[in-house]
Symmetry: C2
Subunit: 143 residues, 2 copies
Amino acid sequence: MSSYSIGDLSAQSGVKVPTIRYYEQIGLIAAPARTEGNQRRYGSAELNRLRFIAHARDMGFAMDSLKSMLSLSTRKDAPCAKVDAIVEQHLAEVDQRIKQLTRLRGELAGMLSGGHHGTVGECRVVEVLSDHDHCGYEHGAAA
Amino acid sequence: MSSYSIGDLSAQSGVKVPTIRYYEQIGLIAAPARTEGNQRRYGSAELNRLRFIAHARDMGFAMDSLKSMLSLSTRKDAPCAKVDAIVEQHLAEVDQRIKQLTRLRGELAGMLSGGHHGTVGECRVVEVLSDHDHCGYEHGAAA
DNA sequence: GATAATCCTCCAGTCACTGGAGCTTTTCGT
DNA sequence: ACGAAAAGCTCCAGTGACTGGAGGATTATC
Ligand SMILES: [Zn+2]
Ligand SMILES: [Zn+2]
Ligand SMILES: [Zn+2]
Ligand SMILES: [Zn+2]
């Protein structure tokens, strides 16, 4: 059988029930067929679409990219260059983020180094956090 | 002189004016003195606190950690172990995030590799996004 | 003393959900 | 076949961390 209730769909996709309704509301997924008693019934196409959404969201794609990819992924014979471009851009963003976090990691490690601060008054963490001049890292500069 | 208007404070700290008022509203900073005409006037202590907040926020500390660190950083003779612990935990989180992003990077790069997909129908990006089985990465597992 | 810039409060909106109240429908055991 | 329990429905409100606007008062500058 290929008829899922919203709960089934939720279980199969890992997306919570209210979130599915929310996605319908914002037009991310289409309004499905209803039973006599007004309950939503989905087919496997909707399940696939929802999995696509969940997977992409899980990988940190922005909602906008997601919508673009969804609309681009419907025509199987269309060129995939645009989809690929979105992924490339996301890859670049991820790279950027990794670099930022690596620098931040250094900053945090630096705060903790030198060890045995003892009191808040001597604590390098508090010092660095209180005054960016002690930090040496240009936070917003590479954003 | 050590009397700043909210605009001065904003300029000195890099925190936007409405955000400063918001921080006051949620109790992150204390309500400052007012002029005859009801305008906020700040001293350098408030500026320091705001800089602390901005700096920590900039480094991705959660609002909760921030509050803890703020309350811990007031008594200069208290031991700094707790502050350090918060930073250590944040460092661990950053490490974790870097690992996740590095794996994600691999996944994204893998999607783009093999090149020349041509059409959406053959596109590895669409394939991987449509069906997590093609992805091989356990997304939620290490969260 | 006029005029521009800044400030005030209050309220609404953002994003991506999440949860509850109160009611109806479906499912399931007997 | 029937009654209870589970799951569904709609509507509305709330979250976090701000951001922005309306409409009006105050301050700074020339
Ligand atoms: Zn310390
Ligand atoms: Zn810094
Ligand atoms: Zn492709
Ligand atoms: Zn995957």
